[in-house]
Every structure is written in structure tokens, then in C-alpha cells.
């Protein structure tokens, strides 16, 4: 069955291009016409067609709160585990961002320097930032930059203004929050090493 037969919108290729990379399409994203793509998917007629079309290639469009992303049908557990591993680094990042005085919420605009400054002035935040693994930047500012860069790459943030290095929090950030909220921490008293375990619901 060809794309024409599905009567797909002409942006289908762009949509696939974004989401197949594991990225999100958020309603408040403006780069590369992301909001237009969102509107197109959000159109009920389009959605059904796109869903049917992508299902053929074993992709499923998942709808979040003002964002869309792909999930793979029948994904092997090993892949899921990898995804979870990748996600784990966001726990500390979200923890940091949620601890800021000026809370980072959907639609917030900020510069890495602002976060770095706040972290520098607040020992607790500084520790949180320093504790985030994976990054080896020497200065706090660079570390925050790397985080922002990572989140931009993963389409949770959008670099709105390269000159001022201003980022905007996209709707897909909700995904991170939802996942974090879905984590239940329990104390496994039966386990021998007495460690805590995380359960993803």
C-alpha cells in the first residue's frame, strides 16, 4: 500500500524524520515548523491515517500532553532496558531542574548561565549538578550547557536564540515528568543487600 493510498499529509516524511529518530513533536516547538507538524498530527483525520500508515512499519504514534512520539510495536525487552538506562540520567537532571528557585516548567525560557549562576550560589544545587554523571565539563556553566544540549538533542528543549543561548522548555518535558512520577521507590526488606529498587510503572 503506497502513501498516496493512505491519503497522508505531505508532511508525513518530515514527521517520520523527526519521530523515527526517537524525538518528540511538541505543540510549542517552533524550530523546523514543529508546531505545524504537531497540528497536522493532532488533526483527528490525519492522526488516524498516520497511525494506520506507521503501524504498517510497526511504529505507533503515542499521544502525550501536547506532544507526540513513536513507540515501536513489539519492541524487545533488551531495547526497553536500554531505553530505561538512557532515561536514568534524566532523573538527576529533572531533580536539579525541579529544585531551582525559578522552577523550570513547560514553556519556561532560560539561559544555561542563569542555571549555572543559581547552582553556584546554592550549595545544594551545586552538589546536585556536580553529581550528575556522564559529563566531564570543568565549569558549571559548561556542564549546564551540556545538559541543555543533551535535552535539546532529545527534543525536550529548544534553542530559541543562539545569540543569547536562550532555551525553551517544550511540551515533551511532560514526558520526563510523567515517567519520573511513575517511578515508585520501595525498600526491598527481603533483599540481602538492603538496596532500594526503582519500579517503572
Amino acid at each position: 500500500m503506497s502513501a498516496e493510498e493512505f491519503n497522508l499529509p505531505k508532511q508525513t516524511h518530515d514527521i517520520f524524520g523527526v519521530m523515527a529518530r526517537g524525538n518528540f513533536i511538541s505543540s510549542n516547538g517552533t524550530r523546523d515548523g514543529m508546531n505545524r507538524l504537531y497540528d497536522i498530527i493532532n488533526n483527528p483525520d490525519n492522526f488516524d491515517r498516520l497511525q494506520a500508515y506507521f503501524n504498517v512499519i510497526r511504529y505507533n504514534i503515542e499521544r502525550g500532553n501536547n506532544y507526540f512520539y513513536f513507540s515501536k510495536l513489539g519492541e524487545p525487552n533488551s531495547e526497553l532496558e536500554k531505553k530505561l538506562e538512557r532515561f536514568e540520567r534524566y532523573i538527576d537532571i529533572i531533580d536539579l531542574l525541579a529544585s531551582m528557585d525559578n522552577k523550570i516548567t513547560i514553556g519556561s525560557r532560560f539561559r544555561p548561565s542563569e542555571i549555572a549562576e543559581e547552582c553556584n550560589a546554592n550549595v545544594r544545587l551545586k552538589q546536585k549538578l556536580q553529581k550528575i554523571p556522564l559529563y566531564r565539563s570543568e565549569t558549571l556553566h559548561n556542564k549546564v550547557r551540556e545538559i541543555c544540549d543533551l535535552m535539546s538533542r532529545d527534543s525536550f528543549l529548544e534553542l530559541e536564540d543562539e545569540k543569547t543561548e536562550s532555551y525553551k522548555v517544550l511540551d515533551s518535558y511532560n514526558y520526563l515528568l510523567d515517567i519520573i512520577n511513575a517511578i515508585a521507590i520501595y525498600d526491598d526488606s527481603n533483599s540481602s543487600d538492603d538496596t532500594q529498587a526503582i519500579v517503572y510503572n
Binding site: 510549542n28 501536547n66 522552577k103 516548567t105 513547560i106 514553556g107 525560557r109 532560560f110
Partner: protein, 1227 residues
């Protein structure tokens, strides 16, 4: 002398490196010199004659400008001599700050410029020199434009109009442009783009292009606005707006409540601080009162107890005395005291009997002698005894009488005294009771009046009054607000109606105007179409025939022919000599007849006029629309603002009414509470009062009872006293009487005894007288009797002491015993009274003490509450961020008593703040999410920084609310809708303007093609043909621009109403708008993609060549890289340029002006073969064009030119230009 006008000569005086050069240019001219010797500079100087534009000479920006490089000295001159049909004239170009021109009516003569020393003169000297010579020299021409006007024959000044090279028409600017373009592009390869540029540049001015940057900017602005509006109109955004609005109200209310609470806290704190001392003082006073009360009570208690002790002592004394008396009395009774007293009472009698017995005995024993005497003395003695006895008895009687009288008197006195005492006591007691009763009555009355006062007193009057006032004010304000809101709601409805009516009116007028304009445009377009049809067919129609074949036909046939006939193509006109100047053989005087026919120019003019008319109509419509929009926007601004204000007011009023309702309810509750409290207080006071009243009533009844008891007591006492007195007196009287009567009986008996004894004595005496003897029996009898009497007296004497003691005790004690008992009882009663008094005072004391303690406790509790509150505030509140937030309010609050305690207020503030923070967090999230949906530089200015303060967030919400209330989105939509109209209109106008010139291009191309055809290539057979044709442009941007123009043509001017219109009725307009938006979006993308700065005339078409040179045919192509050899290429290029130049000169010069020649300056033709050169020069000559070319060196080619000049650099670096001696082979 030429018989046509031509630039005859150029003279350089002190120009650049050339000190002097005089170059003739009246024929083909060739400059020979190696590079950098000044060939091109000279060519530029020649070009300057034609273009008079120092910036369009191909001087790169890195080089010195023309003015500075050429005119280095005061006496630097460029002189152009122009040959005319009559005498030549020349132009002097010199620098006077800027380049200026002067025309001189005469042939150039070096003497005019040089002194005798061969030094170039200054301009003043030149002018005076010329004037001296009587040669006309014009005023200074300051502008290039005016110079060109003169040279190209469009100058209106008669003095200057003769100095023209040719007579150009309105398009004469094309001539200098063409010459310039040939010169500037002569080095390029043959590319249709250059030809296009050439044609286009020749036809257009610098401004006749579509600046894509500008278009892109307009599109971007429109697109951004469109996106912003689209984002705003999204469902999610609308939901967020509602949420923000709601949350803002909530946080606002919470904040208000918090502030109110903070104010209360501040007031309570201040109050607590200010009242602390006074409460302490009040508590201390109560303490003192308590102490005083206690001391008074103790004193009273001591006093009463002392009295009681005294009384007890008295009672003890009396008790003891009574007890002892009773004990004695009992002892006496045991000793049979009554018998003893009775016997003792007979002692006197027994003593008398004894005495009588003794004397009888003595007389019996001693009276033998004188019986008479004896008896006489006996009788006498007896009589004496009798009298003594009587006297004694009488004295006893009198004594007893007196004694008892005295006793009675004493008793009476005692009674009176006691009675007076009791009465006094009674009076005192009653007085005391009465005073107590009176006091109680006063107290009772006081309490009664207190009750009245309490009933009339409004407790917490200040609070209630202030609440009532506040409520009244609030109700008044609410009432006012309600009516104001109703008025404002009416105003809103009215304004809405007015606005809608005005909008409808504007819309209707716009629609009418559009329809009217469109109709007019259609009408004019039809006329244009008719004219165009005429123009299109005129070549083949009768009109064309007449134009070609009949001179001045407009003066003849044109006056009589039907216009429609003129454009019929089926008439096959043929010229017949015989009917010339006649109408079918009839000669007519057509002098007075008006010409019916029109020239092509007139038709063209009419067409242009109608096009202008359409433009005017569209312009007018545009203006109307703009005015309409402006009016709409003004209305939107006016009504929107007013509506917004009113709506905001209504909202504020509604909100304040809601708040007022809540406040009213709260105040009503508070009032009820206060009233309840007041009622409770009244009830409490009344109940206390009533209790007191009851107690006092009871006390009064007790007191009355007590008073009655007292009275009764006293009366009883009095009665008892009286009875006792009466009894005593009766007893005394009785005793007196008994004793007296006993004495009387005793006396009587004794007297009788005496009398009996006297009689016996008398009888005895008589017997004695008779017997004279002694009677022994009688003696014995007397002796026994004496003995008995002595015995009785002895016995009496034995009890005499006890009786005496008894009598003494009786007199001193036993008789006083009732008094003692009475006194004791009195003391007991007094003691009881005192005990009751003490008890009563203790009760009173306790009540008062309790009351004082209660008051003190209340003060203490208040103080503790204040202190606890202040401590809680200091320890648990002062350091929190909540305090910091409301510090101003708390610190500035006025001290005031509130119904809340500090601790509760602090806790509530902290609790509420946490709630407030939650709500505020949600509010911030909504604002962030909403603002995040828009571009960072959105035109609504919905932007919030991440570190924005609460104030900024609140301002954001306020602005958003104003935005909604004032319906600013409608304004924005209207603006954007206007913008899309303006953008499309602007694009359409620009495209139309630009493509309007396409006809000219078509015309030029057809002329060029025709000129190519005319070229005499056949002779040499070198170039078989050069063909040129126009094709549609494949420029994507232009295509889209064109589509937009067509779209606009198709849909007229107004299609913006549908922008964001969701109305089903006008849904079609929405579709049109969507198409427009899409087109604009596509155009924007194309502009971005193509990265082209502007759309010029040359982008409107594609030019293709087909050249056949020998056996080589290029086919229809854009670019001819290589036709043959380089020489062939140069030739073809030159031929094309010359053709172009020729066509443009022809097109741009007046028809009457034919006798002139211009130069075609093409540098570097060195690689062309002599054969080709000859061909080229001929080609040019046939078109009245003289060639000016450059050669690097002498190669024989120069022989084909009329003039050849060589360039040589001298030692002083000056360049010398000198003519080369060659012979023109062929020209």
C-alpha cells in the same frame, strides 16, 4: 564638417596623467596602447559624455572615484566638441567642488584654455576669455540630469536646447544606459542573461525591481503575526487563558486574604505590644484590690472574733456563775435549806416563848410575896411585852413592808433598766438590721437599675457599631457597585451593539465600494481589451493599411470613417489614385469636420489612461480599504478599549461584589458573633446580676426575717422581762403580804395569847388570891416548855450559819440567777449574731474575691495569650519567608483589637501561604506554558522571563486579561488581515509594474530580431543568422510572485475578511484566505531557498538565442559558450550589442531626430580578425554607430579605423596620446 550631429572631439586638459590630449572622434576610432596606459580611462571619459554619471563608469570601489582621479587640478578640463549640421559647440566639464558643465557655442580652440605660456587657465579666466571673444558660454550646469536633458534634447531652456546631440523622447535615458552597458559588459561572454540584463537595465530604472529582502521581511512579519494569532486561537491556548484568568483571580484573592490576615496579625501584634503594659497594670491593680479586700476582711474578722472572744468570756463567766449558783443551790437543797430557813423563821417566836417561859418560871418560884405585885408586874410586863411585841411586830411589818417595797422598787428599776436596755438593743439591732436591709435594698435597687442599664447597654458596641457601619458602608458600596455594574453591563451591550453596527456599516460600505470599484475596473478592462484588440489587429486591419499607405489619413479618411470599420481586417483596402481625396468620388471639404480616427499613440495613450484609471481605482479602493480598516481599527481601538475597560470594570465590580458578598457574609457572621457575644455578655451580666439579685432578695428576706426574729426576740425578752418583773413584783407583794399577814396573824395570836395570858394571870392572881399557894405542876410544865424551846433554839442556832450563808447567797446570787441566765442568753445571741455577721462578710468577701480573681485571671490570660502569640510570632513566624513577604503590611499595621489571636493568625498565614504557593505555582506554570506557546518575540508581547517576579507574572495576567477584554486579538486579526491584503497588493502591484515592462521587452526583442534579420550577413556568409526569442521565466520566486498577482487579480482586493474566520456563512472567504496564506508561505520559502536579493525585469523572461555560423548552429540556448573562434564570439557579441544599441537609440529618440551618430565603446577587440572587424564596422556604420575600440598593440587592425591614437607613458609618468598615422582602409 559633418552633416549630422556627433561627438566630434574630446579634449583632456590636465586629466589624470594626461596633460593635454585632443582626440578626434568623428569616425571609428581606435586606441592602441599596452595595458595600464590609460586607454580605458579615455574610453570612460568618452562614456562620461554620454552617461554623465560618474558612478556608472565601471570604476571599482577600490579605485579612486572619477572626480578625484580625473579632475585633480583646478584647471582640469574635459572638453567635448559636438559637430552639428551648422557650427559645432562644445561642453566643458570641470570640478567646482563637484563636476559641473558649461556649454560653449562655438568650435573648440585651445587658445580659449591656454595662456601664452601654454598653461591651462582657470575656469574664470576661461570664461572671461570666452566672453572677450564674444563666444556664448552657458551658465554652470550643476546636475548630471540637466546636462543629459540638454545633450539628449529634452531641455526646455531655449538658450540651451540647441546644444543637443540628438532629440530623445521620454525614454532617452536608455541611450546612455545602452552605451554604458555595452562598454561595461563587453568583456563578458555571450550569455542571454547579460543580454537580458542589458535590455532590462536599459529599460528600467534602479528602483524598478522587486526587492526580495523587503518582500521577505513583509512576509516574515505577516507570517509571524499570523502564527502568533493562530497560536493564540488554538484551543489549548484558549484553555490556558481561561486557566490563567481563573488562577490569577484565585491567587489574587488568596493574596488579598493573606494581606488582610497579615494586617490583622500586624494589628494584633501592635495591640499586644501596646496593651501589654496596661494589661499588666490592670492585673496589678486587681491584685492590689484583692490584697486590700483580704486585709479588710481579715480586719473585720479579727474585730468580730475579738468581740466574740469577749462575749465568750462573758458567756463563760455567766455560765460559770449560773453553774456555781445552781451547784450551791443544789448543795443547799441537799442540806434541806428550806426547812432550815423555815425553822430559822420561828427563832424569834421561840425566843419570845422561851423568855416568857423563863419569866413565868421565875414568877412562879419567886412570887410568894406579893402576888398582887407579882401579878401586876406580870401583867404589866405582859402588857409591855405585848406592846413591845406589837411594836416589834409592827416594826417588823413596817420593815417587811418597806423591805418588799424597796425590793419592788428595785425590781421595777431593774425592770425599767433592763427594759430600756433591751429596747435600746432592740432599737440598735433593728436599726442595724434596717440599715443592712436598706443597704441590701440599695444594692438590690442598684442591681435592678444595673439590670436596666445592662438591658439598655450594648456590649461590644464599638465593635458592633464599627461592624454595622462597615456593613452599611459595604452594602452601600455593593448597592452602588451593583447599579454601576448594571450600568456598565448596559454600556457594554450598547457599545457592543454600536460596534457591531459600525462594523456592519464599514463592512457594507467596503463591500459596496469593492463591488463598485470591481465593476468600474471590469468596465475599464473591457475598454482596454477593446483597445488592445484594436491595437493587436491594427497591422492587418484597414487602420494598418492607412498608416502604411496613406499620408495624413487622419485628416481625411479619419474624419469620415467609422471607427469600427478601421479595425476590420476583411476590407482588403487597395489604393486607387482616381478616388484620392474623394469619398467614392465625391470631394468633401473636411476642414470643419472633427477627426474621428485616432493614432496608435492615442490608442496607446487611451489604454495607458485606462490602466492608470484602474490603478487609480485600485489605489482609491486601497486607500478606501486602508481608511476602512483604519476606521475599523479605530473603532476596534475605541470600542475595544472602552469595552475592555467596561468589561474589566464589570469584572472588577463582579469580583468586588463577590468579595463584598463574602465580606458581607463574614461581617454579618462577625456581627452575629459579636451580637451573640454581646447577648451572652448581657445574659452573663444579667445572670450574674440576677444571681446577685436573688441572693440579695434572699438576703433581704433573711434580713427581714432576722429583723422580725430580732423584734420578736426582743419583744419576747421584753415580755419575759415584764412577766418576770410582774411575777417578781407579785411575788414580792405576795411575800410582803404573806409576811405581813403572818406577822399580823402572829401578832394577833400573840396579842391574843398576851390577852389570854393576861386573863390567865388575872385569873391566877385571882386564884392565888384565893389560894395563895404555888402550883408545881405548872412549874414543871413551864420548865419543860423552856427546855423544849431551848432545844428548838439550839437546833435553829446549829443551822444559823448555813441559813445566813444561804440567805446571803440567795440575796446575792440565787435571786440574780434569772438575770444572769438572761444576760448569758443575750451574750450567746450577740455571739451568734457576730458569727452570722462574720459568715456574711466572709461570703461577701469570697464573692468579691472570686470576682476580682476572675477579672485578674482574664487579664493574666490575655497577657499570656499576647505573650504566647508574640513568642510564637518571634520563634516560628518572624524568620519565615512568609514574614518577609508581608513584612511591610505587618510592620505598618495600626494597633487594633481583633477577634483572632496572634498564634492562630501566624499559623493560618503559614498554612495559607503554603496553599498560596501551590496555587501560585500552578498559575506560574500556566503562564509559562501559555507564553511558551508563542515565539520569543511575538507581537502580542506574551513573554515572561524564567526569573520573573510575582509582580511580573501578575502583570502578565493583567495584560492578558486586558487583551481579552479589549478584544485585542480582533484588532490584531484586523491588522494582520490588512497586512496580508497590503502584502499581496504590494506584491501584485510590484509584479504588475514590473511585468508591465514585459511588453516593452517583447517589443525590443522583436525589433532586435528584425534588426538581426536586416543584418547583411549574406555578403560575408560568415554568420548565417542570429535569432532571438522570449520564453516564460522559470524563476521560482517570480512564478510565485506572478501567482500571487494573478490570485489578487482573481480575488480582488479584499479577501482578508476570511482570515481566521470560522463563520460558516463566510467560509468561502476563509478558503481564499488560506490559499493566500499558503501562497505567501510558499513565496517565503522560495525566497529563502533561492537566496536572490531582488526580482528584476530580466527575471521575468528567458531569452534564447539561435546562432548559425557557417555550419555551426547553436540551437535555442541561454548561453553561447563558443560559437566558433574567439574572434567569432567577439564579433557576434559586438553585433548583438550594436543591434541592441541601435534598437534602443531608435526607440529612445524622437522620430524627427535622425541625423546623429553615437559611439559604441567596446574595449579589447584585438583578437578579431581584420575581415571580421571590417564586417563589424560596416554593420555599425549602417546603424549610424561609430566604434571606439582598444587594441593592445599595432596589428594592422588599426588601419580599419578613421582615427588611431597611440598611448605612451613618458618619463614623468605622464601619458601622451598622439594620433597614429594610418590610412583608413574601409569604413
Amino acid at each position: 564638417m559633418e552633416n549630422c550631429r556627433i561627438l566630434n572631439r574630446i579634449v583632456e586638459i590636465n586629466i589624470a596623467n594626461v596633460k593635454y590630449a585632443d582626440i578626434e572622434l568623428s569616425g571609428n576610432t581606435c586606441f592602441v596602447g599596452t595595458n595600464n596606459f590609460g586607454k580605458t580611462s579615455l574610453q570612460r571619459a568618452i562614456l562620461f559624455f554620454y552617461s554623465a554619471n560618474s558612478r556608472g563608469l565601471g570604476i571599482s570601489s577600490s579605485q579612486k572615484p572619477f572626480e578625484e582621479h580625473y579632475f585633480r587640478y583646478e584647471n582640469s578640463y574635459l572638453i567635448y566638441e559636438i559637430a552639428t549640421e551648422e557650427k559645432p559647440f562644445f561642453v566643458i566639464v570641470y570640478r567646482h567642488n563637484k563636476l559641473v558643465f558649461r556649454f560653449v557655442d562655438g568650435a573648440y580652440d585651445p587658445d580659449m584654455f591656454f595662456t601664452a605660456n601654454n598653461d591651462a587657465m582657470k575656469i574664470k579666466e576661461v570664461i572671461s576669455n570666452l566672453e572677450k571673444r564674444g563666444v556664448y558660454i552657458s551658465n554652470q550646469i550643476d546636475t548630471f540630469e540637466r546636462y543629459r536633458n540638454i545633450i539628449y534634447g529634452t531641455e526646455t531652456d531655449k538658450q540651451l536646447s540647441k546644444f543637443h546631440l540628438l532629440k530623445g523622447n521620454e525614454k532617452y535615458q536608455n541611450i546612455p544606459k545602452s552605451i554604458t552597458n555595452v562598454f561595461l559588459s563587453s568583456k563578458s561572454s555571450i550569455d542571454s542573461r547579460f543580454i537580458k540584463d542589458f535590455i532590462a537595465n536599459s529599460l528600467t530604472t534602479e528602483n524598478s525591481s522587486i526587492k526580495l529582502e523587503q518582500v521577505e521581511r513583509q512576509l516574515r512579519q505577516f507570517n509571524e503575526k499570523y502564527t502568533d494569532i493562530e497560536t493564540f486561537l488554538k484551543k489549548e491556548s484558549t484553555q490556558l487563558v481561561e486557566l490563567i484568568d481563573k488562577k490569577y483571580d484565585q491567587v489574587h484573592m488568596l493574596k488579598g486574604a493573606q494581606m488582610e490576615m497579615a494586617d490583622k496579625l500586624g494589628s494584633s501584634l501592635r495591640f499586644a505590644e501596646t496593651q501589654n503594659e496596661s494589661i499588666r497594670e490592670a492585673s496589678r491593680k486587681k491584685e492590689e484590690e484583692l490584697e486590700k479586700l483580704h486585709a479588710e476582711q481579715e480586719e473585720l474578722k479579727d474585730n468580730i472574733e475579738n468581740k466574740q472572744n469577749d462575749i465568750r468570756e462573758e458567756i463563760g463567766y455567766y455560765d460559770r456563775t449560773i453553774r456555781e449558783a445552781n451547784k450551791k443551790l443544789k448543795e443547799y437543797k441537799e442540806k434541806n435549806i428550806d426547812n432550815a430557813v423555815e425553822k430559822n423563821a420561828e427563832r424569834e417566836k421561840l425566843q419570845v416563848e422561851l423568855n416568857i417561859a423563863r419569866r413565868e418560871y421565875e414568877s412562879l418560884t419567886s412570887n410568894v410575896a406579893s402576888i398582887e405585885l407579882k401579878y401586876s408586874s406580870l401583867i404589866e410586863q405582859l402588857r409591855n411585852d405585848k406592846s413591845a411585841y406589837i411594836n416589834k411586830i409592827n416594826s417588823r411589818t413596817s420593815e417587811i413592808f418597806n423591805h418588799y417595797n424597796e425590793l419592788q422598787l428595785l425590781q421595777k428599776n431593774e425592770f425599767n433598766k433592763r427594759e430600756a436596755e433591751i429596747k435600746l438593743k432592740r432599737e440598735e439591732a433593728i436599726e442595724e438590721a434596717n440599715s443592712e436591709v436598706t443597704q441590701k435594698q440599695i444594692e438590690f435597687n442598684q442591681l435592678k437599675s444595673d439590670e436596666k442599664v445592662i438591658r439598655n447597654t450594648r456590649f461590644y458596641e464599638t465593635e458592633i457599631k464599627s461592624l454595622e457601619n462597615e456593613l452599611a458602608e459595604l452594602r452601600a458600596v455593593s448597592y452602588k457597585n451593583k447599579s454601576e455594574r448594571a450600568i456598565k453591563q448596559n454600556m457594554v451591550a450598547t457599545l457592543q451593539r454600536e460596534w457591531e453596527a459600525l462594523e456592519l456599516k464599514l463592512k457594507t460600505s467596503l463591500t459596496n465600494r469593492i463591488n463598485q470599484t470591481n465593476n468600474e475596473i471590469i468596465k475599464v478592462k473591457n475598454e482596454i481589451r477593446e483597445i488592445e484588440e484594436k491595437l493587436n489587429v491594427q497591422h492587418d486591419a484597414f487602420y494598418g493599411y492607412l498608416e502604411k499607405n496613406v499620408k495624413d489619413w487622419h485628416q481625411t479618411i479619419g474624419k469620415v470613417v467609422n471607427e469600427k470599420l478601421l479595425f476590420r481586417t476583411d476590407l482588403n483596402p487597395e489604393k486607387a489614385e482616381t478616388t484620392a481625396n474623394t469619398l467614392y468620388g465625391i470631394s468633401l471639404n473636411l476642414e470643419p469636420v472633427d477627426i474621428v480616427s485616432k493614432s496608435i499613440e492615442e490608442y496607446q495613450f487611451e489604454k495607458n489612461e485606462r490602466l492608470a484609471q484602474i490603478r487609480d481605482l485600485e489605489e482609491a479602493l486601497n486607500q478606501f480599504q486602508a481608511a476602512n480598516n483604519e476606521e475599523k481599527m479605530l473603532a476596534a481601538d475605541k470600542y475595544g478599549k472602552q469595552l475592555g475597560e467596561y468589561k474589566e470594570d464589570v469584572k472588577v465590580l463582579t469580583y468586588s461584589l463577590e468579595l463584598a458578598d463574602k465580606r458581607e457574609k463574614k461581617l454579618a457572621d462577625e456581627l452575629e458573633e459579636w451580637k451573640g457575644k454581646a447577648g451572652k455578655e448581657v445574659e452573663e451580666s444579667l445572670s450574674g446580676n440576677r444571681q446577685r439579685l436573688n441572693i440579695i432578695e434572699e438576703e433581704l428576706s433573711i434580713l427581714n426575717k432576722k429583723k422580725n426574729n430580732l423584734l420578736e426576740d426582743f419583744n419576747k425578752q421584753l415580755e419575759k422581762l415584764k412577766a418576770y418583773n410582774d411575777e417578781r413584783i407579785a411575788d414580792l407583794k405576795n411575800k410582803q403580804e404573806t409576811e405581813i399577814s403572818e406577822l399580823e396573824v402572829e401578832k394577833k395570836n400573840q396579842v391574843k395569847e398576851f390577852e389570854n395570858k393576861e386573863e390567865e394571870l388575872i385569873k391566877e392572881r385571882e386564884g392565888n388570891f384565893k389560894n395563895k399557894g404555888v402550883d408545881s405542876k405548872q412549874l414543871k410544865q413551864i420548865e419543860n416548855k423552856t427546855k423544849e424551846l431551848q432545844e428548838a433554839l439550839k437546833e435553829i442556832e446549829q443551822y444559823a450559819q448555813i441559813v445566813s450563808d444561804y440567805l446571803k447567797d440567795k440575796r446575792e446570787i440565787f435571786d440574780k440567777l434569772p438575770d444572769l441566765i438572761q444576760k448569758k442568753e443575750e451574750f450567746v445571741k450577740t455571739n451568734n449574731d457576730l458569727a452570722a455577721q462574720l459568715e456574711e462578710s466572709t461570703r461577701k468577701y469570697n464573692i468579691k474575691r472570686m470576682e476580682l480573681n476572675k477579672q485578674k485571671r482574664a487579664f493574666d490570660e490575655e497577657l499570656i495569650e499576647f505573650n504566647n502569640g508574640i513568642n510564637f510570632y518571634s520563634n516560628n513566624f518572624r524568620e519565615t519567608p512568609v514574614y518577609v513577604k508581608y513584612a511591610d503590611i505587618i510592620e505598618r499595621a495600626e494597633p487594633k483589637r481583633t477577634n483572632y489571636n496572634i498564634m492562630d493568625l501566624c499559623t493560618q498565614l503559614l498554612k495559607n501561604d503554603s496553599h498560596f504557593n501551590e496555587e501560585y505555582g500552578a498559575f506560574q506554570r500556566y503562564v509559562n506554558e501559555f507564553a511558551g506557546k508563542f515565539r520569543i518575540d511575538n507581537h502580542f508581547n506574551f513573554i515572561i522571563r524564567n526569573d520573573a517576579t510575582q509582580g511580573e507574572y501578575e502583570r502578565f495576567a493583567q495584560n492578558l486579561r486586558s487583551f481579552i477584554n479589549e478584544n485585542k486579538i480582533e484588532l490584531s486579526i484586523a491588522e494582520t488581515a490588512t497586512q496580508i491584503g497590503l502584502v499581496t497588493d504590494s506584491i501584485a502591484t510590484k509584479v504588475k509594474e514590473l511585468s508591465g515592462q514585459k511588453d516593452k521587452i517583447q517589443h525590443i526583442i522583436s525589433l532586435i530580431a528584425e534588426d538581426f534579420k536586416k543584418a547583411e550577413f549574406e555578403e560575408s556568409k560568415l554568420i548565417e543568422f542570429i535569432k532571438i526569442r522570449l520564453e516564460e521565466s522559470d524563476n521560482k520566486v517570480y512564478k510565485l510572485l506572478k501567482r500571487i498577482q494573478e490570485f489578487r487579480e482573481e480575488n480582488g482586493l479584499v479577501y482578508n475578511e476570511g482570515l481566521f474566520n470560522t463563520d460558516f456563512a463566510t467560509g468561502s472567504k476563509r478558503e481564499i484566505s488560506t490559499r493566500a496564506v499558503k501562497l505567501l508561505e510558499q513565496l517565503r520559502s522560495a525566497i529563502k531557498e533561492q537566496e536572490q536579493e531582488e526580482i528584476k525585469l530580466q527575471d521575468l523572461f528567458e531569452l534564447k538565442f539561435n546562432i548559425k555560423e557557417g555550419m555551426n548552429e547553436t540551437g535555442w540556448t541561454h548561453k553561447i559558450d563558443s560559437i566558433g573562434s574567439t574572434g567569432t564570439d567577439i564579433l557576434v557579441k559586438a553585433i548583438i550589442y550594436i543591434t541592441l544599441l541601435h534598437v534602443f537609440i531608435k526607440e529612445s529618440s524622437h522620430r524627427s531626430s535622425k541625423d546623429f551618430k553615437v559611439h559604441c565603446i567596446i574595449d579589447e577587440v584585438g583578437q578579431i580578425s581584420a575581415h571580421y572587424l571590417r564586417e563589424l564596422l560596416r554593420f555599425a556604420k549602417n546603424r549610424n554607430i561609430m566604434m571606439i575600440n582598444g587594441l593592445p598593440n599595432k596589428s594592422g587592425l588599426e588601419s580599419h579605423y578613421k582615427y588611431t591614437y597611440q598611448f605612451r607613458r613618458e618619463e614623468n609618468n605622464n601619458v601622451r596620446i598622439f594620433p597614429s598615422i594610418v590610412t583608413e582602409v574601409e569604413a
